[in-house]
Amino acid sequence: MDFSWLSDPFYQAYLWEGFVNTLWLLLVSAVGGLLLAVAVALARLRGPRPLAWLAWAFTTVIRGTPLLVQLFFFYYGVGRLLEGVPGIRDSVFWPLLRDPFFFGALTFILSVGAYAGEVIRGAMQSVPRGELEAGRAFGLSGFQVLYRLWLPRAIQLCLPTLTGEMILLLKSVPLVSTIALMDLLQAANIIRDETFLVYEPLLLIAGIYLATTIVLTLLLRLVELNFPGMRPTRRRWLPLR
């Protein structure tokens, strides 16, 4: 085992950039994805027929195909098609549309939207009807019932599953190394190519991922314990999809 390359400032910079990008992608995808998930759940439960059907189809397709295929589809497939759109190279969006980070985040947001959307839909269906009717009886508007009663109660019911989805999201991030985005795995791959070391860089980032997973699990546990009305429950510390 040769870890002498760790003292090289260039490699340190790569690894740091990879780590920051990984966390940044995680944050953007988690926030965007959860917002989309609520929209998907609402569309399936209360949307007009075509919208509900669309949300169902979206969920089925995203959950039924590999994330890697989706990533390639958006980055290479949709990305190439967009290149052909006349005038797009002069538009303000062009730098964004060439950025692998944009496509990585887009793919992950859609993925979280589909997986977490199903979780939130199930939880929203489990909230007793009487509670929502009570809200209406107290004179809350439909929107107020949604964001003061229905959503908070649903999130209480599915919070452990949702935090599990976030761990799964973290573990999906290395996929973006295949579209040349500088994440931890991409940093390790560069170091491997330059130092001809097969295992050491991979083992190092495996360790970093292990530590990040543990820290994130503990942080999310804190969120769960402090969520209003949550009773602490014993559960396994790593989720299954």
Binding site: T60, V61, R63, G64, T65, P66, L67, L68, V69, Q70, F72, F73, Y76, G77, V78, G79, R80, L81, L170, K171, S172, V173, P174, L175, S177, T178, L185, V198, Y199, L202, L203, I205, A206, Y209, L210, T213, I214, R236, L238, L240, R241
Partner: protein, 235 residues
Amino acid sequence: MTAMTPEGLGDWAGPILAGAMTTLQIAVLAYAIGLLLGLLGAGAKLSPWAPLRALATAYSTLIRAVPELLLIILLYYAGAQALDALLARLGIGGAVQITGFATAVGVLAFVQGAYMTEVFRGAILAIPHGQLEAADAYGFSRWTRFHRIVLPGMLPNALPGMSNLWLILIKDTALISVIGFYELFFTIQQAAASSRAYFLFYAAAGVIYLLMTLTSTALFARLERHVRRGQPTEA
């Protein structure tokens, strides 16, 4: 060469179909080995012997805390190296194709086994204790108790988790393409690059994987009805 006609889906149908078959072979073999590893892991986790429990816990915890893609790359190189050394010692070196396939299966099975361990552990723990005691009272041997009571008793509890893991496995086979082994998605990538019809081929890949997962979901639903026969239906 003048004006080449662009390659379409038709030109690549054969290789893509072959790739899909390879993917299915990898998935089925990895699943079978993963089931076995999962049973062993769950058995070890529930064993009264502490070192065995620690070993199984380390296996299932470490594997589940590290991203699959990273594990697959890491284990692929380690596994290929080990297998090459083994084949060279046996005097059948250079069988790269066998090595690639076997490592792909081995790596996916090893990862799958860690997740399966947790599924089986939970399912075994959910078997009512009285049933095991009844088996003991009737003088069942350990093996008879295992395959007449524990296995059929845990199956209904384990099946939803097993079905989930099969779907994850099908999708994880696409990760093998990163290593450069010929399976469905690697073939698709080559088709897309050579025809430059990226949108078309990646959409086609999505449709093929979707067909596989939807069919699997339907089959697992039937299987679950079968193992739950004789159980009281919930009102």
